[in-house]
Amino acid sequence: MTTPSTPPLRTAEQVGEQAGAVLREIGRAVVGKQDALEQVMLAVLAGGHVLVEDLPGLGKTLLARSFATTLGLDFRRIQFTPDLLPSDVTGTPLYDQRTGEMVFHPGPVFTHLLLADEINRTPPKTQAALLEAMAESQVTVDGETRPLADPFLVIATANPVEYEGTYSLPEAQLDRFQLRVRMGYLTASEELAMLRARVDRAAPEAVLERLAGPQDVLAWRAVVERVEIDDDLLEYAVALVGATRDHPRISIGSSPRGGLALVQLARARAVLDGRDYVVPEDVKDLAVPALAHRVSLRPELWVSGISTDDVLRELVDGVGTPTTRRTAAVSS
């Protein structure tokens, strides 16, 4: 069927099975967070970056490390602190006494999977150093641009309850994240299962098996690029994004980048489900994680306890999905 020299193109169904196996493996370490795991996997497939925002102790760091291990990706971690410098992220040229030249020492950003832990604890200058890397997968130091590894994925964590000594991420940087993931507390039964698993394995953390590698991730992303999406669904995505700009409770709506992220995530979800076409559920279910962190509520709502997730959920329930029959005739 295929020549031995050229690797066969994978189908969406095959990629869905492989990605599902990775999720099941990670599920051994991160118990009861199936939705969060799926969303991070969608970002892996769609080639985006993830912001994990929730309370301490919910497994944010464990989640990132588990993905790196199971996907076979090179993994680095930066603990963001107030005194962290941009060069600590990107790298810096140092003088080599033997050769008498300036030699660039790459920073931790030169990796496949970067865990930016507590990213809101560092000043905007250092946060901005991560901007170029996330948006363009390259770093410019001393006027020289260096490409990053491919694939390159940032999983950043942020603690939303501590305000002392933190620097809120600016809208421009939030927009760089393809989706925001909320971990949430475990249910009582899930928490019991987690404790039972910890006691049974007699080790702090589960040892995960490597099931893929960087080339697999790139091949998966190529499959995502071949997923088709109907024009009516694109219009639906545009309507969702447009609705964030007209909603009375939202002062700043989603950027066009939000629409791009939503569509790409929907295509990734189709692949994860073994399909090579997008359905309305793909777009609708991902509207909140893809758009909620890109909008700003009106100031008077800040004290009322209403979150952008709440407003986005209400908004999604008000935007019509495509009709049962096609609005325009197409050839079958």
Binding site: V238, E281, G320, T321, S332
Partner: protein, 340 residues
Amino acid sequence: MAVNRRSEGDGFGGGAHGVAHGGRTGHRAVPGAVVAVGVVGALAVAALALRPAEGLLHSGRGPLGQWGIVAIGASAAWTIGVWTAVRRLRPRFGADRMGLAPVEERLRDAAAPLLLSATGVIGVLALVLHRFSTGDGTPGPPPPLATEPAPEPTFATPPPQERPRGSGDHSSLPLHLVLLVLAAVVAVLAVVAVVRRLRRFRLSLPQRPGPLGSTAPQGDDARLLLSAVHSGRRALAGTDDDARAAVIACYAAMEDALAASGVRRQASDSPSDLLTRAADAGFAPGPAGPRLTALFREARYSSHPMDGSHRTAAAAALEEIATLLGDRAPDPARDGEAKR
């Protein structure tokens, strides 16, 4: 900043927004001359109906004041005018919210309904305070002008009773009747507002609870369900060459069947949402429902070639749903469908 974002948002989302709201066209501007003529005419009628020498709350006894139809017509014209103005001004009140400070916006929210409702009340008050003639229509004698000073009242004699005017030909509308009409109007407006709000948030009025365990279709409902399924079969027969259209027709028939049973698809529902809604309402169409939905998704949203196998699978799923619904339906209904 906010203004810039607003214009950017309109640029990107304008098309979808316009489609969603049905493309409202702008109002034609009313010529200034027409407005001027209208204002002058209204003032002329008011001048002819009122008597300037008397107080604001006194009944008009001008040349036109004797005719109740003038008061009713003026009140109706005022109400229609206010209603028209409110409809035109409402978008302007809703616009330009972005630039307002929170205090200004709260003030606007409080002032807008107050102003609009207060102007509407004027027309009602004009009708209530008018004294309608009930006699032969001849005007009563004008009230005596106070040309001489009134006699000083004495404590010894009670004050003279005020003589009834015109032998009772000036009687106002009974207050309780006016209040009843007003209460009815307010109640109707409140119901309309509540229903519109419910529809806006895509909520439905609470249904009257049926007997215990009666969520399954009964009687007429079952007949409607089966009728929808049979219409799907007919659609299937009419799409011989197009398997994609046949699959979509089958799914549409299932949607119609669920709608006939009260599980109507909301505009924001995805196919999964509809199945969930049906299951919650006790109309879960069995395993055939998800199967038909999956076929529909592929037919509707993919360019995969669709052949007879897809068509057969969709038809089988529809038949399964029909059998399921037929089992739930009472015998007379099933017999009636079988005769068709």
